[in-house]
Subunit: 455 residues, 2 copies
């Protein structure tokens, strides 16, 4: 027993020594504590998120709601005392959902929940009536191509993970069109909710006709499957007014805390202000906007001015076009070599889960040391894979390290649904995520060396 | 230590002796085991529930769906080999929801989820636009009566329990009309879901004008509260086509297993086949219909014919009229003195939680002994309070003991919502509830004495 205890003590000692941070991190420890304490002192982040989502609602590209939210963000950042607050013009697509409906005709008449997929075309006026063929995957679709021709296909693929299953939403409609389907229904990409439909973009390919595409809740997909398995005919009327209008003027919102020594070196943080239309876009991605924005506000509040510039960008049109991320890259081409690191928050602001990182191994080690300052709020893990749809276009050209903020516990339950509202997020979660990003970004911006140049 | 162990053993022995069932229960033990085993042997109950809800969908009084479900139930009971299968005519109200919508106009334009309350009147064609005054309870409404006059009131009462909170749905609209409101919105009666609205009947009183009444999800009620707390004006357009049409012909479904010795003494079990329109009425109350129906099917399957008659009644029009329960009472007036006990299942078929009982104390002791046979499936608790909207009208006249089947764990999460579908219920739950009711009802129907006549 004594021997074992001695060995255990030695192992613990050795682990503690090897985990000890290098000296450079020490001065940042009290600063990190101050930032965390300031973030946790009130529910400012949550209240800002509530104000944004309550006042402006969903913010689909091309909508007045989005542009009003953008103007509010500019005004509010100015009031926060940020430097260089402005908006940068980006033309965005304007997809309009219009009225849409799905009515079961056989075996019984019933109106069912439906949520058209973003980018979908509409049906002819009044819709059309058709049998529905239910398939579980693309293999079954290919095998039953002859049956599907001229009919509506339902992809009833059980949700495994967003990465694994959303191919049915993105590629399913065009693949169905290739075998002659006249419309595609997709089981919602997410865990079974409370009859909750999930929208999201579909991506038409050029080698097939564009057919109307919409999501139905998991419960309805299961019901269709059971009806089909019993040999019953399923017939529906699908009506969708979805269409595109002319591109619309929108903007990325930019605000900064200028660096005290190297103002031309820039760390970018941000999320996207646009959202899908059924919910309030609270987790996707007003939350990401607010917690990255909060990172700068917390620095400002504490009088922390790092060596380099920290820039928050609230991107437009992530959901159905990525025009904001591409627009930022194009507007800042000359400046991209001075981009030190870009961090995106677009995976929810539930309990902090740390960060994703893409970049040199030695830069990752630096980031791991900084993340160690966030152990008390659970934000210390660093896993491989950083960036996102908004920051990666610029980051890729800049060849800069890319990071993602991670806090996605309940994200796919409400992702792209009417339930993406602030009720899912607690004030504590909002504050802790703001603190995590503030500490990470402040230290990177203040490092004695430029992140990514570690030898 | 030894002393304590001895005392504990004596206590255990004494408890075991006092809990020992009287002799009459002994012959029913193997029968109860056979019934439970037969119910658990397959997922028949769940599949029947799936067939009912998948094939006929929601079954609002006055709808074709309900009448088709009724005819299917009659046919299927006949195939089950029940005695005296027939339907009994009942005229039911026909409330039609029509199109309905709630559009936020200020502070931003947005279409919001809405679910009109059953029995509500509609708005003028095209709806009307009005400010919304948010109140947390009736007291606040009375205090702010002057503000409310000519406007829409929102009752944002947090859900405490169905019994405590549904007064806002039932009485709120007429009380609001009395202070001059032109329409009433009610925070949905249920825990916060996934932006899930709950419908249900409102009850107009004669001393106030009938004003349109509808439910909104908890999330939207909270948002309105926050906007109002910030001093912002909330303005909406409410449009509802809700109206009544002429009463419609419907039916209660009746099937029996005739008693082998006392066929004129009747035990009634049942639920209601009608449902609200947004979901599939799986928990409310196709589940109650199926598990009470299954009680008879299991007896039939096992060749169990009790002394007295067991009758299953699938009532029509529980939700918005109680015409089925009243109709049964009126059609069976002469026979009511022979009603031994009436049991209703209308609180979900989640994990069994036992039974509610109203009747003589000594009859309750008999029921407690029978429930003891159901310990292995958790259905042994017996609490005070039995009956329900369907069986109580007849039971009250008959002065017979009334029982409720209890299994309501997740009931109010999905009650009167689009999410009341079979996905919420497992095959095991359906089988165990069928077994619980079958055992309880078989033994009561077979008792050497008539339940309620215990000395």
């Amino acid at each position: 027993m004594k021997r074992t205890a001695l060995v255990a003590a030695l192992v613990a000692l050795s682990a503690s020594l090897s985990a000890q941070a290098p000296n450079w991190i020490d001065p940042y420890k009290p600063i990190a504590q101050r930032i965390i304490a300031a973030a946790q002192a009130d529910d400012f982040a949550w209240r800002r998120l509530a104000e944004l989502t309550d006042t402006f609602g969903p913010r689909l590209s091309g909508s007045d709601n989005l542009e009003r939210a953008i103007d509010w963000a500019v005004d509010t950042m100015k009031k926060d005392g940020f430097d260089n607050v402005h908006k940068e013009p980006v033309m965005v697509p304007k997809w309009v959902r219009g009225n849409e409906s799905l009515d079961l005709v056989e075996p019984v008449r019933q109106t069912l929940p439906l949520l058209g997929l973003g980018n979908s075309v509409g049906t002819p006026y009044g819709g059309f009536e058709s049998d529905v063929i239910v398939v579980k995957n693309f293999d079954e679709m290919e095998k039953r191509a002859a049956e599907i021709k001229g009919k509506i296909v339902l992809f009833n693929a059980e949700f495994v993970s967003y990465g694994a299953t959303n191919v049915y939403r993105t590629s399913g409609p065009s693949r169905a069109a290739k075998v002659g389907a006249i419309a595609a229904l997709v089981r919602s990409i997410g865990p079974t909710g409370l009859r909750t439909p999930h929208t999201g973009a579909t991506v038409y390919t050029d080698d097939a006709p564009k057919i109307p595409a919409a999501a139905i809740p998991a419960e309805d997909a299961n019901r269709f499957q059971r009806l089909a398995d019993r040999g019953l005919k399923i017939r529906v009327r699908l009506s969708m007014q979805a269409h595109f209008e002319a591109d619309s003027q929108s903007y990325n919102v930019v605000g900064e805390i200028r660096g005290r020594e190297l103002p031309n070196e820039v760390i970018v943080v941000g999320g996207h202000l646009d959202s899908w239309d059924p919910g309030a876009g609270a987790s996707d991605d007003a939350g990401g906007c607010v917690v990255t924005w909060e990172a700068l506000r917390l620095m400002k509040k504490l009088g922390l001015q790092p060596r380099r510039t920290v820039r928050v960008v609230l991107f437009t049109n992530e959901e159905n076009g990525s025009r904001g991320g591409n627009g930022y890259r194009d507007a800042h081409t000359a400046e991209l070599p001075n981009h030190v690191m870009l961090l995106e928050s677009d995976g929810g602001i539930f309990d902090p889960e740390g960060f994703g990182f893409t970049g040199p191994e030695k830069a990752k080690a630096t980031v791991v040391s900084i993340a160690g300052l966030l152990k008390s709020i659970g934000a210390d893990p660093v896993r491989d894979g950083g960036g996102g749809a908004d920051v990666s276009p610029a980051g890729t050209v800049a060849k800069a390290p890319l990071m993602s903020h991670l806090a996605e516990a309940n994200y796919f339950q409400i992702h792209h649904t009417p339930a993406d509202t602030i009720e899912r997020i607690s004030p504590k979660q909002a504050s802790n995520n703001a603190a995590a990003i503030a500490v990470m970004v402040y230290v990177i911006a203040d490092l004695p060396w430029r992140l990514g140049t570690e030898k």
